[in-house]
């Protein structure tokens, strides 16, 4: 909003807003996709505007040239009038057709552009790095799709054609007026000028208070959201009255701002309309003077024509003042839309790809078209030769440093070696950097210095998609999608059969509860599984990972919401899932990590102890302390 000076009102403001950078992009987007349509629309608008100014001046023609002479004849002949009216009917019909045509085309243009914008927005968003989602509130991103694109729809579909039409009819009406009577035109223009000045003032004030209203509305939203999501706590502490007190206060602020903003917006129309009426009167009086004195060739017909012309002249200004807020909002909205579209997408310089592979007796790897259960990294060298490396699941960290922001390192000097089939556990307090390490393996974030190698290949050389395909991730926060249970399990491997999905569910011990759901595997999960318990959701996401069948697993608090007894059930499934796979586990339950090959104790971004459960207990260090709850 800052790029728009809201103090300046009226026409100049509209011009400014329309000329702003983001609006130019919207318009050029429309022009690019719909060049022919827009040309057709412009032609139709011009025709429609000309016809409507003809209709306004037609009354003068009819009164002066046909009706007045008729009154003087004793035997009036209506044929010339009939001919003239017939001619007008044809012109008018052309106008109506033109009007319908451009309105209809604009529907396609407006909605079509919206479709392109929505699609591009979503496609672009899907390719943004995780960092974007971690640093922007999800509510704000969502609001781009709902509020901001909607303001654009209003603009492209409604405001834009109306403003264009306003511009053309302004020109057409002005030309007609000049042709009819220059002196009366001057009078009209003076009146319009006054009208624009007055409405500009009101529009400026209204804009200012709309800004205040929006920010107060934001505060009210924040308060409501916080208090309602904590409503149960409010109840438990009998805090209702206090809350109401707080709410009444900001609610009153909103009322004040809203009254002012709407008040100034509301008086805009009467001002423009009544000044329009005033000009109407002035035209009548001045015109009357000229007509009586016979100066300047003004006739009764001229007056009649000017009366409707001055209304037609006023209408574009009314349109502009009506569309003003829509345009300002669309400008702000389009800026946010393009801000998202301008975010750089996740880069990928990797060239090593993941392929299905066959292994012959001598251990030579070759590429296979089918799913073989064996994968290989396909290395293409600059000289064109291909090298296949079998995917084993060895992951090394060498002197890795990482920070979410460049000069604030959160992981220091991480060294670790996970060999094929090993289970590596991370323990440590919240914020120690456990999850961060896993974010580096699948390159949700890139390291600052050091190296991470996957089967000896620097992961920066591996194509991100293929890297991620080789890693199965189960997170504490399970995200399921609005679809059937079956489709949710199938998510990671769209070509899996129903039977394979069921097998994966059995492996994760999710089979039992799924069968008890109303429609079994075909039960539709609304709102990402709002009808399931947290534990059930975790079981489903384990099944999902099991089906994807990745060689390396990352389990980040994957079983935290499952109670101890159920976890024992899941554990057997998890254990069979982990066989032969390198697994990284973050968990706070002993049972989950005890049998790990290596346990890493993290503190403030450093690995401070490492070893097996037994060896760590013997060390009597931090792990021992955490484990026994005793100070050393």
């Amino acid at each position: 909003m800052s790029e728009i000076n809201r103090e300046k009102g009226g026409i100049s403001q509209t011009v400014q807003v329309v000329a702003s950078k983001s609006m130019k992009r919207v318009i050029s987007l429309v022009m690019k996709n719909y060049t022919k349509s827009i040309i057709a629309v412009f032609i139709c608008i011009i025709i429609s505007a000309i016809v409507s100014s003809i209709s306004a001046s037609s009354m003068q023609q009819i009164i002066d040239n046909y009706i007045t002479p008729l009154t003087k004849e004793t035997n009036p002949d209506f044929t010339p009038l009939a001919k003239e009216l017939l001619r007008l009917i044809c012109i008018f019909l052309l106008g109506v057709v033109a009007n319908y045509t451009y309105n209809r085309i604009m529907v396609n243009v407006g909605q079509g552009t919206m479709r392109v914008i929505r699609r591009n927005l979503f496609a672009h968003m899907e390719k943004l790095p995780i960092r974007y989602f971690d640093t922007h509130s999800h509510g704000d991103i969502m609001s781009i799709y709902t509020n901001d694109t909607d303001t654009l729809r209003q603009f492209i579909g409604i405001s834009f054609p109306q403003l264009v039409e306003a511009l053309f009819s302004l020109v057409a009406v002005f030309i007609t007026m000049v042709i009819l009577s220059p002196i009366m035109t001057v009078v009209s223009v003076i009146m319009i000028f006054i009208s624009v000045q007055a409405s500009g003032k009101a529009a400026g004030l209204s804009g200012k208070y709309f800004g205040i209203q929006q920010s107060t509305l934001g505060k009210v939203n924040g308060y409501i959201e916080e208090m309602i999501s904590g409503q149960k706590v409010v109840k438990v502490f009998n805090h209702e009255e206090k809350n109401i007190e707080g709410f009444v206060k900001i609610n009153n602020d909103l009322y004040d701002a809203s009254t002012k903003a709407n008040g100034f917006a509301n008086i805009l129309m009467p001002i423009v309309a009544q000044i329009g009426n005033l000009s109407y009167v002035v035209i009548a009086v001045v015109g009357g003077y000229f007509a009586i004195s016979g100066h300047m060739g003004v006739t009764v017909g001229t007056i009649a024509a000017f009366l409707s012309l001055v209304k037609a002249f006023n209408r574009p200004f009314m349109t502009v003042s009506q569309q003003l807020n829509a345009v300002v909002m669309a400008a702000a909205g389009s800026k946010r839309v393009f801000d998202l579209m301008d975010e750089p997408v996740e880069g990928d310089e990797g060239y090593v790809t993941l392929v299905n592979a066959k292994e012959d007796k001598n251990g030579n790897i070759s590429e296979s078209d089918e799913r073989t259960g064996i994968w290989a990294w396909k290395h293409k060298h600059s000289d064109g030769s291909l090298i296949y490396t079998k995917l084993e699941g060895n992951i090394d960290f060498e002197d890795v440093d990482f920070g979410y922001v460049p000069n604030k390192i959160v992981l220091h000097d991480i060294n670790l070696y996970a060999n094929k089939g090993q289970k590596i556990a991370f323990v440590g307090s919240t914020g120690a950097g456990k999850t961060t390490i896993t974010n580096l393996i699948n390159r949700f974030y890139d390291i600052q210095s050091g190296k991470i190698r996957y089967d000896g290949i620097n992961i920066e050389k591996i194509k991100k998609d293929d890297l991620r395909r080789s890693l199965g991730v189960v997170l504490q926060e399970t995200n399921l999608f609005s679809d059937t249970v079956m489709e949710n399990i199938r998510y990671g491997r769209p070509d899996a059969t129903d039977e394979e999905c069921r097998a994966a569910a059995r492996l994760a011990n999710a089979d039992g509860f799924i069968e008890r759901l109303p429609d079994g595997y075909n039960t539709f999960l609304h709102e990402g599984g709002a009808n399931l318990s947290q534990g059930q959701k975790q079981l489903l996401s384990i099944a999902r990972a099991a089906l994807a069948d990745p060689p390396v697993l990352i389990l980040d608090e994957a079983t935290s919401s499952i109670d101890t007894r159920t976890e024992q059930l899941v554990q057997s499934g998890m254990d069979s899932l982990m066989v032969g796979r390198t697994t990284f586990v973050i968990a706070h339950r002993l049972s989950t990590i005890k049998n790990s090959d290596v346990i890493m104790v993290l503190e403030q971004g450093r690995i401070i102890e490492r070893g097996s459960h037994e060896s760590l207990l013997e060390q009597k260090g931090r792990y021992y302390q955490l484990y026994t709850g005793k100070a050393v």
């Binding site: 009038l81 106008g95 604009m106 396609n108 979503f122 968003m125 009426n277 002035v282 209304k311 005793k630």
Partner: protein
């Protein structure tokens, strides 16, 4: 439904009424102007009497100024009335929500309540303003203009009546079919937004499974469907404008033709014809406005419904009249208690619970996910009411207590707890708004929260971000315990409230409870055996039934569920989570 909403106009009735009055005034003045034009032309210009021109001209200017004043006044009153109406509605909803019981809250999701309080109210505010300004204005313009045309020429006015009839019929047909289509569009639109929402919050899953392209093509299908529906709906709407223009042109032609013959026969003047021309636009534009207003109102109907739902929702848990205001002690009895979330439907969540807890005892509760531990303790402070049987506290049925008194006496630390954006001190004072700093400090000592608070730069004045975002899970839990302690309750219930606190601190808190507040009945839900094994008695819940109620040692011997859980957690009894945070 509208009545339910209209009740809340209250003190803004005058402003609403004044809006309508001034709008009528504006309409009258506005429409008198073309009428006066007849006189200027017929008595002034045609007769060459410039004095008459000036005379009628000044009257018209006077009318325009009066019209302006009315218009401005109407605009200001409309803003006041609609903003005020919105304010009252918002406040009434918020008040009612504050009275909601837990089961009321469960009926609405937080997101939906927020939408109802914001977007829906804004829709209603706009619709109400529109109603005040347009709904009266349009018919008034229409009626008044028609009257004027009849006054000017009865026969010519037939043209207007025909035009009005034709256009309104067309508008009604177009608008009804468009509204139906638009409602379909909005449904699809909601689904689309839900899809986006899922992708934003689940972006890690999408990227981990490399499903970006599939999600994009799914989205594209949805967007295309919306596009088709929107085009279908809007192509109806765009008929409006050309239709209106067509009617205007038809009127001009008809007026010219019939006007000409009337003027030649002397039954109509040139001035009257000019005036009639200018009424064409007024009449047809007012019809147009009317149809749009009706559409706006139909579209805001959904919002009105959603608001009325909240306003009408009655709390199902209220205090009796002359309810008891003091709770004698912390003894608790469950007498044949059964409970289900939807009365009469589905499996009971708790069945046939009979338990006696003496005042001052410490009781542990253990059970698997879905064994109804939380449902059990929710019945004690009447967060929900038992479906059958009774819960007694201090020897009295909980339903006989004043709700405020009961909840002050029974302090619950919820599983999903919240801190609010305010200082630590003010957050803690939720427990007791008059607590002195010393009292607050003492509660924090008991909850082992003092150590980290003292280490914070501004200690008790440290600002807590929304939802407690700037404290760790363990710190948050300890603050919530301290807040609950400040109530100085008879019964303290901890619902898995130390899950993120490390074992050592957990033990320290329990010791403090034992030694410092021996008279308070303490009920502790935990997944950790270590947190409850020292309790006087432990309740083992399984599928909504009490399957064990005894001491740790006895349960180890007799209760299979308890023993297997204990074994699973044997050795160390440790959690590694969030330790020392």
């Amino acid at each position: 439904m509208l009545k339910e909403l209209a009740k809340h106009i209250k003190e803004f009735k005058t402003a609403s009424l004044l809006t309508v009055v001034f709008i009528l005034g504006e309409v009258v003045f506005e429409l008198l102007i073309p009428y006066m034009m007849t006189f200027i032309i017929d008595r002034g210009v045609m007769k060459g009497d410039y004095g008459a021109v000036v005379k009628y001209g000044s009257v018209m200017i006077g009318l325009a100024i009066l019209g302006l004043l009315c218009g401005v006044a109407a605009g200001l009153f409309a803003a006041k009335a609609s903003s005020g109406f919105a304010r009252n509605l918002r406040e009434a909803m918020f008040r009612n929500i504050q009275n909601f019981s837990f089961s009321n809250i469960d009926n609405f999701s937080t997101a939906s309540l927020v939408t109802r309080l914001t977007t829906d109210i804004t829709n209603i505010q706009n619709a109400y303003q529109m109603v005040l300004r347009m709904l009266m204005r349009a018919p008034a313009t229409l009626v008044f203009a028609l009257i004027m045309t009849v006054t000017i020429s009865g026969r010519m006015s037939i043209i207007f009546f025909i035009a009005t009839f034709f256009l309104s019929l067309a508008l009604i047909i177009i608008m009804t079919s468009a509204v139906r289509l638009f409602n379909q569009v909005f449904e699809k639109y909601d689904a689309l937004n839900a899809n986006v929402q899922e992708n934003i919050s689940g972006i890690r899953v999408v990227k981990s499974y490399v499903q970006e392209d599939r999600e994009i093509s799914k989205f594209e299908v949805a967007v295309t469907n919306i596009y088709r529906l929107f085009v279908k709906a809007e192509s109806r709407i765009v008929l409006n404008n050309p239709l209106m223009i067509l009617t205007v042109y038809a009127c001009i032609i008809a007026l010219s033709w019939f006007g000409a013959s009337q003027i030649t026969s002397g039954s109509l003047t040139t001035g009257a014809l000019t005036s009639l021309f200018s009424y064409v636009m007024s009449i047809l534009i007012s019809l147009m406005m009317l149809s749009f207003t009706v559409v706006m109102i139909t579209m805001s109907e959904a919002s009105a419904k959603r608001i009325a739902e909240v306003l009408k929702e009655k709390s199902d848990i209220t205090s009796k009249e002359n309810a008891c205001k003091t709770v004698a002690d912390g003894s608790i009895d469950f007498d044949n208690v059964s409970f289900s979330y939807k009365a009469g439907m589905g499996k009971p969540v708790l069945s046939d619970i009979n338990i006696h807890i003496a005042s001052g005892q410490t009781i542990g509760i253990l059970g698997g996910t879905g064994s109804s531990k939380t449902s059990f303790i929710n019945l004690i402070p009447r967060l929900y009411d038992a479906t059958a049987g009774s819960v007694y506290i201090g020897g009295k049925n909980v339903k006989d207590y004043d709700l405020k008194a009961l909840r002050d006496a029974v302090s619950v630390v919820l599983q999903k707890n919240e801190l609010f954006s305010d200082t630590i001190l003010e957050n803690l004072r939720w427990g007791n708004e008059n607590a002195t700093l010393d009292e607050v400090k003492r509660a924090c000592e008991l909850a082992c929260a003092d150590e980290f608070i003292e280490r914070m730069p501004e200690k008790y004045d440290t600002w807590i971000e929304r939802g407690g975002a700037n404290v760790s899970g363990g710190q948050k839990q300890r603050l919530c315990i301290a807040r609950a302690l400040l109530k100085n309750p008879k019964v303290l219930i901890l619902d898995d409230s130390t899950s993120a606190v490390d074992t050592a601190t957990d033990a320290k808190i329990r010791r403090a409870f034992r030694e410092e507040i021996p008279d308070i009945t303490k009920i502790i839900i935990s997944q950790r055996i270590s947190s409850i094994k020292d309790a006087d008695k432990i309740i083992v819940l399984e599928k909504g039934q009490v399957v064990g109620f005894d001491t740790h040692e006895k349960l180890l011997e007799t209760n299979e569920i308890y023993r297997s859980t204990a074994n699973a957690q044997a050795e160390g009894n440790a959690d590694f989570d969030k330790v020392g945070a």
